[in-house]
Amino acid sequence: MRVSFWLNLSLLNGILLGSWACQQGSDKLPFLGAKKPVQRTVNGKQVTDTIFHAIPAFSFVDQYGDTVTDKTVADKIYVADFFFTTCPTICPKMKTQMKRVYERFKGNEAVMILSHTIDPAHDSVAVLKEFAGNLGVTGKQWLFLTGPREKIYEIGQDSYMVTAAEDKSAPGGVVHSGAFILIDKDKHVRGIYDGTTEKGVNQLMSDMDKLLAEKKG
């Protein structure tokens, strides 16, 4: 399968800029995505709650052939990204950088990494297992996920807010970003980073420390 690769930097930049602006003057990481105000009545008074954008239930299969769902990451923070094993462009950069995250948080049970393949036709469980092994990844902290193509694209686009979709203008091509997405224990998106650069990933790791220190609720 030939997949051409487009780094959608403008979108990523927009989000990065947005998240940076939100962070000014606050030590708490921002909540990214659409917010929905919800009216409810407490003791006869109208109050407005804000419902933050959250990752919905999902179900994929990891490099060991085990099913991975939203329950797998319950009460953990995690980093998500989208890639494919035969990609010679930005994916190796992303994997080089994600390896740094993996090494840094290795053994921390509150942290996981979910790498979704956007080429499930090629990237079977066996292919992902070999890839993970060759990258020096063992154990269940960094999972390489495959599943129905449309489900992967849907969660990428709608939930993780990255472009991982077929591009009609490039036949057989894919629009895809090099983003790393940071998700908190309540499945809220708390940061989107350029996973192709050392600088972007340094920021991610320092934000992960912040998020781990954050009190629930």
């Binding site: 010679p88 190796p92 080089t96 390896k99």
Partner: protein, 139 residues
């Protein structure tokens, strides 16, 4: 007599100057190849083989002190046409597809080769375009 001596010295220094000029012309060409080759490397190869040429784990083999570099013509060939199937590099097995690079010209491959072998192959010789062209004739 004195005049002859002066003339002699003049001629000698002129010859020396010319010779050193010739040498530096060659060296200038080689340096140019290395600089251009470095750019080609950064744009085309560094994603997988890493900016420092050390490769990535068991996924992408290293170029630094790689015994695979001994097969110079094979390296020229695989840069243009890619490579499939397992290979051995410094006794380790690698089995990932090396994509072809039809977009690289013969000159760019010569520059890239000159850069790689100078920096990591302990081989400072310039890789000639004519030689690259010859090797690439065989698909």
């Amino acid at each position: 007599m004195k005049l002859t001596l002066y003339c002699g010295i003049g001629l000698l220094s002129a010859t020396l100057l010319l010779m050193s000029n010739c040498q530096s012309q060659e060296e200038i060409k080689r340096q140019k190849y290395i600089t251009e080759g470095m750019l080609v490397y950064q744009n085309t190869c560094a994603n997988c083989h890493q900016p420092d040429g050390k490769g990535l784990e068991a996924l992408y083999p290293p170029l630094v002190n790689s015994d695979y570099l001994a097969k110079k013509d094979s390296v020229i060939h695989l840069i243009r046409y890619g490579l499939q199937g397992p290979i051995q590099v410094n006794g380790k097995r690698y089995n990932r597809v090396m994509p072809p690079n039809p977009q690289l010209s013969d000159l760019e491959i010569a520059e890239l080769m000159t850069f790689m072998y100078d920096r990591w192959g302990n081989d400072p010789a310039l890789v000639d375009v004519a030689h690259v062209k010859e090797v690439l004739k065989k698909e």
